[in-house]
Amino acid sequence: MKEDSKGYTIDELMAVLMAREVNNNDVMIVGVATPMVWSAFTLAKLTHAPNAIFHYIMGNTFVFEPRQVSLLYHEMNTKNAYRFQDSGECTLESLPSDRLTTIEFFRPAQIDQYGNTNNICIGDWNKPKIRLPGCAGIADFSMFYSRGSFLYTPRHDKKRFVPKVDFISGVGFKDGKRSICGGRGPQSIITNLAYLDFEGKSKRMRLSSLHPNVDIEKLKESTGFELVIPNKKKETKPPTEKELKLLRTKVDPLSIRKLEVLTGKEREELLRVIVNEELSMKKRIPNLISP
């Protein structure tokens, strides 16, 4: 995954686009094993959302200060927590989802045109071709959020964008309607090819902007259902110099976010480098980043 002619990689573009979804008063939920999301939130905090708050599932904590993204020392964010949660609060009780601007990114293994998602299994549940890790809290929370839920995947292809998901573990717009839980439903999907959202009335998935250098035919071929394609085409606004510099030098200099994009040997090699780099740190607390 080299820098392309535009001077940025796809993980950088995605992290920047995800960062731009954050509002200044958001509570940003940082889940388990999602360094791309953590990078994006930290970048947002350093650019346009200085008041946003990190809610780390890993520590059941609320943290105000941004820290450099870390693989081994993620949990050290517990150190600066200004709020802990009770045990029960680690599920639905964190903060009132219907009134506050909580933002959480979910990464579906399958998604359909109405934003229903699947993180449970490929094939029949009773005898799955592939068992996936599970949906964690997606089935519980995603339908409650007043700002809706946000989706991403670095692998936009027909295995993921399917006419019908094999198991609904996250409710999108069922038959074009909102869930009974009161949230706004899926808002956008950021992929390696495009920025997609949902058409206001039909609630079908719609192309919002194609990433630079991506052909629209490539997008159509990679999607297992018909997208709403507006007449007026938009190109995704690429990362700015400032965004790229922050991401590379302060937010995630070890490129931990890239682990979500790479596979196989490449991923293993990057993991080796990251682990060695982090083990060589004398101070095993990720750097605080001053805005």
Binding site: E75, P133, G134, A139, M143, F144, G170
Partner: protein
Amino acid sequence: MLQSKLLSLEEAISTYIDDGDLVGIGGLSFWRKPIAACREIVRQGKKKLSICTFVGGIEIDMLIAAGCVSEVRSSFVGMEVFGMASNYRKAIQQGTIKVSEESEASIALGLKASYLKVPFMPLKGIIGTDFNKVRKDIKQFDDPLGSGTQLMALPKIDLDVAILHVPYADEYGNGNITGAVWLDSDMAKTAKKTIIICEKIVELEDMIHLPGKAQLPMQTTKALVKVPFGAHPSSVYPLYTFDALHIQNYMKMDFQDYKKDFINLNNHAQYLDNAGGSQMILNILL
């Protein structure tokens, strides 16, 4: 004075875990997992365990590979950015273990129901998903108060055993967790038999001064076991982080080899030595 509940790991597991038990495992993902206890379960060849954990990782995968498990109840079982839990995946794909499909709330509220002695807890979430197609024990129902709201009834989870790994405990079975408690306290309070594994034993009086105090109450603890680095290769904040190298190693090795090198050993020091000894310890220490 109060009765000490200090046991050896071997005694605790053999005394309080029976084949077929529904076993709750504390922690989350690679964090505060009672893995030394899981290795002991493997050594003792426990069978047909139902394992319930909030978010599972290597400990679930290992127990499945060793043939100790008949059913898993967890909202997520994976190896974080390292990849998939391949024994978990294989066992389900081959149909050798059962799955009770869970979300985070179905476990959290299931434990809450157990505590309140009610058969279920109501939730609006989950409605619209396919959970009800594969969980015959959950049910959509009308609000009995007549608001017309549709709700999902999630059944109580009555654990036979809870195994929880904490940094500090006293010998009477009070446990203290620095940082996130997740569902450990709910498991400690609801399980019929609670086993606490700790890194360090402190005095009851010290609980007064530890942040968060005794989140795990002694009244429900059956056994306390001290195993320093006993959560390895997972983490115990604020003492040590997880061992990424060991986890990668685990994922590459055939489980029978792993078992020989890391489980079927005479003592914990030998395990730590085989896992890298002093250099490994220096690596993980925070």
